[in-house]
Amino acid sequence: MLGLIVRRFFQLLILLIGISLIVFMSMHLAPGDPAAIIGGPTASESDMEAIREDLGLNKPVLVQYFDYMKGVVQGDLGYSYQTNQAVTAAIITRFPNTFNLAIASMIVAVVIGVIAGIISAIKQNSWFDLSSTTIALAGISIPNFWLGSMLILVFSVTLGWLPVGGLNAPFYTLEGMKQLILPAITLGTASAAMIARMSRSTMLEVVRSDYIRTARAKGVKEKSVIWLHALRNAMIPVITVIGVNFGSLLGGTIITEQVFAINGIGRLMIDGIASRDFPVVQGTVLLVAALFVIVNLIVDIVYAMVDPRISYE
């Protein structure tokens, strides 16, 4: 296991260097001048020249890259061109929001997805199976911004049960939980649908396998057959789906954060791109890439825990 972690760590380093180079170059080569955006349409050429000089944008791109990487190695992700705030600080303020939202939506997704998937599998072709597969299809197809807006209209504007947006109360308070419900459902729906479909099909496969037939023949109770014997093996592909989904949720979910006015990583990144705030974009992309790799590592470790046949020694 330790070998796996060390190996992954080196892979992560190489990956991050590659990503930083690609992002840095593509941001600098893409059209759009940070100085023009900071100066606004009213800025004169001399205003913008002064801003470029101030930000060091007049240096050759490669020199700028190495200057940047020197900082990164020391844990300094640079300063935002727009607000002059440290990028690390900007990430630290926003990450908890994204993290809480990701956890909450994964809870929604896993609880609904796994339960619906398993029931569908056990009661294949029943009305429950039919309706849950239909709903799952709809869940995957419905765009987030539409679902989010509809939830706001129904539960906030019409019924007045939940706040429209914002995520500033701590998640363990009632206010914080209320703020999390709608965005978590919005985000969790698509993942729930995916997980439901995945658990249904793997469960169907597993219940037809020999060892389940053996268990049943031995007279093990149906409940134990499903929840103890079958579920564990059916979960391997499901864990992969959960891992991938969770990784991308941690990277910030631009549309949901936008609709629910959540101050998260996704919005930090999209605002950074729009204002050509290179250090912010760099910093968030590196973070997202690192998180993705880490989540996948955790998924691999969980495999070994769930399925004793998998070993990394």
């Binding site: 893409a30 059209p31 759009g32 001048d33 023009a36 955006i37 900071i38 100066g39 606004g40 349409p41 009213t42 800025a43 004169s44 050429e45 001399s46 205003d47 913008m48 002064a50 801003i51 000089e53 101030d54 727009q82 607000t83 002059n84 705030q85 900007a90 303020t93 926003r94 339960i115 807006s149 706001i152 209209l153 906030s156 504007v157 019924l159 007045g160 049960w161 939940l162 706040p163 429209v164 947006g165 914002g166 500033n168 009632l174 206010e175 939980m177 209320k178 419900i181 409940k223 936008q258 609709v259 629910f260 006015a261 101050n263 919005r267 930090l268 605002d271 729009a274 204002s275 050509r276």
Partner: protein
């Protein structure tokens, strides 16, 4: 299995009930003794960039800066006349010298004295190249600032500068506490003389201000002012509906009917200073040919576009809008009448029939809508019209480099002075910079120069008007609409007044 499902359903239901029974946050406006809490929350689609007037140049930051800091002069929102604010009076011993007497007894929020030294410090910082103030060009005509006595400053300009008072009324020229600026970062810890004191800024989420009990004009009624970042406009409208925010502005025309349907919300609309226009690249063929531009002007029926704005726009042929200094009624219909047949004939006569043209539109605001309507109208006279969409940052670059044929832009006229519209946008000094249309007309330049270097207001008005008429006749930019500034707020918000530039001050606002 069934039992487990029951338990699960029970938990789910109880969660829904618990959250459903407690009241949502909109009822916490009333304090214990039944009086309304003097608080206001404003929803903004983007966050402030910073809170230093010297180091920022965007309208969102200005909305907050305007509550914290004050300028020497201010434009009266009713009359559009410039009046002293932190200044007491001024005189011009000669055309290059402005002696400004300051009000006495005003202190900054940090307790330091507002005086001539603070004014000098602010303006010196503003034009210091090392500071790289984004709007440094605003005070570029200032040669030096001299402290005559404790409460008198003398501003020497490089040349007679007529729009100086308008520039000094601009929010970016607000006076900052020198001590606060030297000791910290004004962007994060702003210190001014205004009615509200900075409390907190959680980047990307909110800015909070508190009423200044020592404000020199008397304590404001509002105790707390919050700017809440709500990037999605329709979410902001929902929040207004539920009372999570009290006030939104810059209403988009497509949301107007929904906002009007909110029972306890009021809408304020008035003619404003912004202008949105179609512009030609004057260095490209055939757009540099007056006959071609005239044909296009004849083909455009801007009334059709203005109707789409549901009352949030005004049609007027003048480039300098009716609320901007330099406008004269004569300019209103000075443009080219809608006459598609004449337009088609002109194209044929000049060999431009079937000409292929590309409209460049930024994918923000109403620019795409403008492009679509113009595309339809120009297709009717036989032109082959394409639309190219662009993201804002790329658009700014592309247009500055002159890589377009026809495009759409806007100008907010935040100083309310016509020379501050004509000089950056159309004067040949600024080709390659803010004169994106690359208009180069000596006679026009001369008139604009006159309007800038003259301190006589009547003569200035005349010069701006004449320059305006030349530009209209040259059909270099065709106004699509003049802006209507707007806001919507809950009906217990009293005393809110948006000015013609779309900005507002919360000093006299209260909740009743």
């Amino acid at each position: 299995m069934n039992n487990k499902m029951k338990v699960f359903l029970f938990i789910l239901l109880s969660v829904v009930l618990v959250t459903g029974c407690s009241n949502p946050s909109n009822s916490d406006n009333a304090s214990e003794n039944g009086e309304k809490a003097q608080e206001i929350t404003y929803a903004s689609t983007s966050d402030v960039v910073g809170l230093s007037p010297i180091d920022t140049n965007d309208s969102v930051s200005n909305n907050m800066i305007k509550q914290i800091y004050e300028t020497l002069f201010t434009r009266n929102p009713e009359t559009m006349e410039i009046e002293p604010l932190l200044a007491e009076s001024y005189e011009n011993p000669d055309k290059n010298t402005w002696v400004i007497k300051l009000k006495e007894g005003i202190t900054f929020h940090d307790g330091t004295d507002f005086n001539a030294k603070a004014v000098k410090y602010t303006f010196d910082q503003f034009v210091d190249p090392d500071r790289a103030a984004p709007r440094a060009s605003l005070l570029e005509p200032i040669k030096s600032v001299e402290v005559k006595d404790k409460y008198t400053v003398v501003i020497h300009t490089k040349y007679p500068y007529g729009a100086l008072l308008a520039a000094l009324s601009h929010q970016n020229a607000a006076i900052v506490s020198p001590q606060a600026d030297k000791e910290g970062d004004l962007n994060k810890n702003p210190v001014g003389t205004g009615p509200f004191v900075f409390e907190e800024w959680v980047q990307g989420d909110h800015v909070t201000l508190k009423g200044n009990p020592d404000y020199w004009q008397g304590q404001p009624k509002l105790e707390t002012v919050t700017l809440k970042v709500v990037p999605e406009y329709s979410t902001a409208v929902s929040m207004l509906e539920t009372g999570e925010v009290d006030f939104i502005d810059g209403l988009p025309s497509e949301q107007l009917s929904r906002i009007q349907s909110i029972e306890n919300a009021e809408i304020q609309k008035q003619a404003g200073t912004p202008v949105y226009y179609l512009g030609f690249n004057m260095e490209k063929e055939p757009f540099n040919d007056l006959a071609f531009r005239q044909a296009i002007a004849h083909a455009l029926n801007t009334d059709v576009y203005v109707e789409q704005l549901n009352g949030l726009g005004i049609q007027n042929d003048s480039i300098v809008g009716p609320k901007v200094f330099g406008y004269k009624e004569e300019a209103k219909d000075a443009g080219y009448d809608y006459d598609p047949e004449k337009a088609e004939q002109m194209l044929k006569d000049n060999g431009y029939a079937d000409q292929e043209i590309t409209l460049l539109a930024a994918n923000t605001g109403s620019y795409l809508k403008m492009a679509e309507i113009v595309q339809a109208q120009l297709s009717e006279i036989g032109l082959n019209v394409n639309i190219e969409q662009m993201e804002w940052g790329t658009f700014l670059d592309t247009t500055r480099e002159g890589n377009f044929e026809i495009t759409f832009m806007g100008w907010t006229n935040s100083t309310g002075d016509g020379s501050e519209l004509l000089y950056p946008n159309l004067h040949s000094d600024n080709i390659g910079g803010s004169n994106r249309l690359r208009y180069n007309n000596e006679e026009f330049d001369q008139l604009v120069d006159e309007s800038r270097t003259n301190v006589n207001e009547d003569e200035r008005l005349e010069s701006i008007h004449k320059a305006n008429m030349i530009a209209i006749e040259d059909a270099v930019m065709i106004p699509m609409n003049h802006g209507v500034v707007s806001a919507a707020y809950l009906d217990d918000v009293k005393g809110l007044k948006i000015d013609a530039t779309g900005q507002w001050k919360l000093y006299s606002v209260s909740r009743e």
